[in-house]
């Protein structure tokens, strides 16, 4: 008799994605879908898609979703959660969205202690627009707008948003994870689940999970090499672990 050991979780739609081979978004989406199903919160969850590669997240996640202006998800989430305290509100944002154009919105949502869950995908580059420098781009990293590699003297250092947010009294849980291997992916799921659970319990404050995610296309390397690059390069600048909570 055949036994099913792995299957699609219902909140993840049965369709191909537009993501590049080796991209981390597919993994992160699946983790979120699994968590929503395991916590049985699909019928009261509202998700917010960013501007960036994950703008079409609502095509893959089968929950009520909205797509909003670049960087503004934490403000939109504030409007949603304040008027709907019984709903579970999460935003899914990339590094350009959250750490650059939306820096004010995430900082102040954290500062006010909004009871929302933020999934922050850090792949050190702008994907959708063609591989430009992000605030989280590594020193020396070649991008479409740093042809000679990012130089601290000209473009500044990679921005450690999670460390910054962890200093705010309004944030209750901040953890940085990675999608660089099975063990790391399992830890990521545990962290995101915890962030959702805090909101379900009504914990007073913002929870955020930063996820180091591969972008083989704009890192100009194979998917396998990209996974290695997270381990050998990114983790040095963005150390993994619980920063708060």
């Amino acid at each position: 008799m055949m036994k099913t050991v792995f299957k699609r979780t219902p909140t993840l739609k049965d369709c191909p994605t537009h993501y590049c081979p080796g991209c981390g978004h597919g993994i992160a989406h699946r983790l979120i879908a699994e968590i929503i199903d395991e916590l049985d919160i699909r019928d009261r969850t509202i998700g917010i898609a960013p501007v960036g590669c994950a703008v079409l997240a609502y095509d893959y996640l089968d929950v009520d979703m909205v797509e909003v202006a670049h960087g503004r998800p934490p403000a939109v989430a504030t409007g949603m959660k304040r008027t709907n305290p019984d709903k579970i509100i999460f935003s899914y944002q990339g590094d350009g969205d959250l750490a650059s154009i939306g820096a004010a919105e995430i900082l102040h949502a954290g500062h006010r202690g909004e009871q929302i869950t933020v999934i922050f995908i850090n792949n050190a580059v702008y994907g959708m627009t063609g591989g430009q420098m992000a605030p989280t781009t590594m020193l020396g990293q070649v991008t479409a707008t740093t042809p000679k590699g990012r130089a601290a003297v000209e473009q500044g250092y990679p921005l450690q948003v999670s460390e910054l947010l962890a200093t705010l009294p309004g944030t209750i849980y901040i953890e940085r994870c990675a999608l660089s291997g099975v063990a790391q992916i399992r830890k990521t799921k545990k962290a995101i689940k915890h962030a959702f659970e805090l909101q379900i319990e009504g914990a007073e404050g913002l929870s955020l999970v930063e996820v180091l995610s591969p972008c083989p296309t704009y890192w100009r390397m194979s998917p396998t090499k990209a996974m290695e690059w997270i381990e050998t390069n990114m983790i040095k600048v963005f150390p993994l672990g619980r920063l708060k909570g």
Binding site: D64, V66, A69, R72, A75, V76, E105, L107
Partner: protein
């Protein structure tokens, strides 16, 4: 339609309020679930009033970190089906244009109050009507409109709010209340009463958690070929319907008028006095006051221009609404303009003088 706008005279108890506070209380009576805003003069009485009254009613008040955030908080609350509003003044409204464009693309209802001040740039905090173009042409990127209501007194600051929320919900779009520093600050006796309101469609599109139904998506991104054109044509249909059904306009002694003065908002209040004085002096003058600035009362003005009359447009700007009057008159009659930009406010004598000068012009 005009009855929907006006409060029944003498009903209830009259109380003395400034325009900003009267508008805020009227929004609460109209069922505003959430207010989000950022301080800016001359509208600060609105957030201050809301910060006290909204929690009393068990509703939401949030002081945002910026106007960008405020309009996006409105976006969030509105996406879940709540009645949400923000208020600001000119520079802050410029910052909100991104959000208004997204609201328009996503077809979300919202009420935005602009208590205009002098510009461009930081300008000053004096009353102005310089944001007419921005308000009536959409203001942000893309092919869209917002319904624009132009109150001209404190009672109308009250009257416009229930209508604004109803129109926003009915057409799923932004309704802007275009007031100015005088209307916001001055005190007048007002009647506050709960109105019956329109019969509105259920918000089946709202994000409430996909309980027992398919997922709802609120979006303004339409990538497949032809899909965005389809959305724009749908919006156009809606806008045509609004132009047909929602025009509000007031006129006075037009029938025998040789001179017609067109003004809106607080400028119309001053014009009204000037025209009455002109009549007392035997000058055949009348006035037209657009109440909805978009949709514009093109038909009413065009009709008035069917007979030869001299039109005088008075604005607290260098001439913005005058362009809509020109389009409406379409060459049938001469149009002159008198404006006071940069926070200047015309007085009755100034406008009367302009009217008198027109009587010296040779007749056709």
């Amino acid at each position: 339609m005009i009855e929907e706008w006006q409060t029944s005279k003498g009903a209830g108890n009259r109380i003395l309020m400034c325009g900003n506070e009267a508008l805020a209380e009227s929004a609460i009576i109209a069922g505003c679930d959430a207010y989000f805003g950022y301080p800016i003069t001359p509208q600060n009485e609105i957030p201050a009033y809301m910060s006290r009254r909204m929690p009393e009613e068990g509703r939401i008040f949030v002081q945002s970190e910026s106007e960008l955030a405020a309009i996006n908080m409105v976006f969030g609350a509105s996406a879940t089906g709540k009645r949400a509003m923000t208020s600001s003044s000119s520079p802050g409204i410029s910052l909100m244009q991104e959000g208004i464009s997204y609201l328009s693309g996503a077809e979300l209802p919202a009420v935005v109050v602009n208590v205009m001040r002098g510009g461009p740039g930081l300008g000053n905090i004096a009353p102005s009507q310089a944001d007419y173009f921005q308000a009536t042409r959409g203001g942000g990127h893309g092919d869209y409109r917002t319904i624009v209501l132009g109150p001209s007194g404190v009672q109308e600051m009250v009257d416009c709010m229930p209508l604004a929320f109803d129109l926003a919900d009915q057409y799923r779009m932004t309704v802007m209340v275009l007031a100015d520093g005088i209307l916001g600050q001055m005190m007048e006796p007002v009647v506050l009463e709960k109105k019956k309101g329109r019969k509105l469609p259920a918000k089946e599109w709202a994000l409430t958690g996909a309980k027992g139904r398919k997922q709802n998506i609120v979006r303004s991104l339409w990538l497949p070929e032809g899909s965005l054109e389809k959305l724009n044509l749908k919006l156009l249909d809606k806008y045509k319907q609004i132009e047909q059904n929602e025009v509000l306009c007031e006129q006075y002694e037009i029938d025998d008028a040789e001179i017609v003065v067109v003004a809106y908002g607080v400028a119309a209040r001053i014009v009204r006095s000037a025209v009455s004085r002109a009549r007392e002096e035997g000058i055949k003058a009348g006035w037209i006051r657009p109440i909805t600035l978009w949709p514009f009362p093109t038909e009413q003005i065009s009709k008035a221009a069917d007979e030869f009359r001299i039109f005088l447009v008075v604005e607290m700007s260098n001439g913005q609404m005058v362009e809509d009057v020109r389009l409406a008159v379409n060459g049938k009659s001469p149009i002159l303009f008198y404006g006071r930009p940069g926070g200047g406010v015309p007085n009755v004598d100034e406008i009367l003088e302009q009217i008198k000068q027109l009587t010296l012009r040779p007749k056709k």
